[in-house]
């Protein structure tokens, strides 16, 4: 078991450079600045980050997708439970 764990660890370590390499750029960065002139509120907030700090914009987008997804799932789960459509472990048969 220890030898197998070591094998898996080595496999994963070998895969790390591949993981980074496979993050190979498939699209060119868009070199543009958003015009903030007529923006306000949340639009201005997002566009400002987009213009000034692309890394933070990317982190914000990724985090927002996760949080919003989970929030909507939570609310929909409550609704589905109310109508009796909740899920639990199922038997796996074909």
């Amino acid at each position: 078991m220890k030898r197998f764990a070591a094998l898996i660890l080595n496999f994963l370590l070998l895969a790390v450079p591949a993981l980074v390499w496979a993050a190979a750029e498939k699209a060119e960065p868009l070199e543009k600045k958003v015009n903030l002139a007529n923006l306000s509120g949340i639009n201005y907030f997002f566009a400002d980050w987009y213009n000034n700090n692309m890394w933070l914009y990317a982190i914000m987008v990724t985090a927002l997708m996760g949080v919003v997804g989970m929030l909507i799932a939570f609310v929909t789960d409550i609704f589905l439970k109310m109508v009796g459509m909740e899920v639990s472990k199922i038997e796996h048969h074909e």
Binding site: A22, A27, N43, Y57, A58, G66, M85
Partner: protein, 346 residues
């Protein structure tokens, strides 16, 4: 009238109809939750038809896929449909395979034959897989009867039950969630192969990995769906982040699509409870044959028709899945009511 649903997309710097984004997200959410796929092959042509700027299409799609996959994977996990051990192995193997595939494409490009090779391989894969899964569905009863006869014959003659052919090259890994024990090399080889196909064809790979999990690894169908979604979650997260850094994610559009997708995913995942196994395989087979038809139409430069075919196929499949969910739910409620009556009667 639909103009009242127009919203301003600050990054794309244009007005776009929010209903369209929510509707696209919803249909892809249902498909994703039910089949365990990302759905980019539906979203990109759909966005193209409605005039969404293509510079942001892939990045925005990947962003919403990430959010949707979290929803769908969490729900599949509740149902016991996610084999995380298998999912993590699939990520490593697939990523290496993807890079090899991508390098092969560059080599084919240098030879000047990348376009035709990729196109025809894509069509061959979609039609071949779809037809095989249809054949599998149509012959399942015959095969089950033949297997039962073999086992009965073995029992009658006092012989050992006929062993299933398998390749037992150690180390063997046990995946308790899927209930399979399989050679590490088989698992790695399968995911390297599916990753290679994804990299070669330039696709996400969910629709390749799901049948591979069923037919090459031996996962039950529902677990293949949940485990595939687990892998899609990681590729979605990574895609969302890298495209975000390149400024190719329109955040408001992504949130609107996610709104629809998160609700759709709940429906798609819940439908797995009522449809299951061969039912999922049949619908998946029909879906990818229609996707193959769309790809074939694109080869004949009928791009708009191809996009409409894939969108109508996606919407039609959503209606079928939602209807089947409703049917299954009604049946379950009727059974519960009948059971409650039996309990009350002396």
């Amino acid at each position: 009238m639909l103009d009242i649903f127009n919203v301003y997309l600050p990054i794309a710097e244009m007005q776009f109809n929010a209903l369209i984004l929510v509707a696209i997200g919803f249909s892809v959410g249902v498909l994703g939750g039910f089949f365990g796929v990302g759905g980019a092959w539906v979203v990109t042509p759909a966005l193209n038809i409605f005039g969404f700027p293509m510079a942001y299409a892939i990045g925005t799609d990947l962003a919403h896929i990430f959010g949707k996959s979290i929803v769908a994977t969490a729900k599949h996990r509740k149902m016991g449909n996610v084999d995380m051990k298998l999912g993590l192995l699939s990520i490593v193997g697939s990523v290496i395979g993807v890079e090899i595939g991508a390098q092969n494409v560059m080599w084919l490009t240098k030879l000047g034959i990348a376009g035709p090779v990729v196109r025809y391989l894509y069509m061959f894969l979609l039609f071949g897989l779809g037809i095989y899964m249809l054949y599998d569905y149509m012959t399942k009863d015959k095969r089950a009867a033949a297997q039962a006869a073999k086992v009965a014959e073995a029992a009658r003659s006092g012989m050992a039950r006929p062993a299933k052919k398998s390749w037992n090259l150690p180390p063997m890994i046990h995946f308790p969630a899927s209930g399979i024990t399989i050679s590490f090399w088989t698992v790695s080889g399968v995911f390297l192969f599916t990753g290679w196909l994804s990299g070669l064809l330039g696709v996400g790979g969910g629709f390749i990995r799901m049948p591979a999990l069923i037919y090459l690894i031996g996962c039950p169908t529902a677990i293949a769906v949940g485990t595939d979604l687990f892998s899609v979650l990681f590729s979605g997260a990574y895609g969302c982040f890298t495209y975000g850094i390149k400024g190719r994610v329109e955040i408001i559009a992504a949130v609107l699509m996610l709104f629809g997708a998160a609700i759709g995913a709940q429906i798609g995942v819940t439908a797995v409870k009522y449809i299951r196994g061969y039912g999922i395989r049949l619908l998946f087979a029909i879906m990818i044959i229609l996707a193959g038809t769309s790809v074939a139409l694109k080869q004949f430069n009928m791009t708009v028709t191809a996009a409409w075919v894939v969108m109508c196929a996606a919407l039609g499949m959503c209606v079928v899945i939602t209807f089947k969910l409703y049917q299954g739910f009604k049946k379950e409620q009727a059974e519960k009511a009948a059971y409650a009556v039996k309990e009350v009667k002396p």
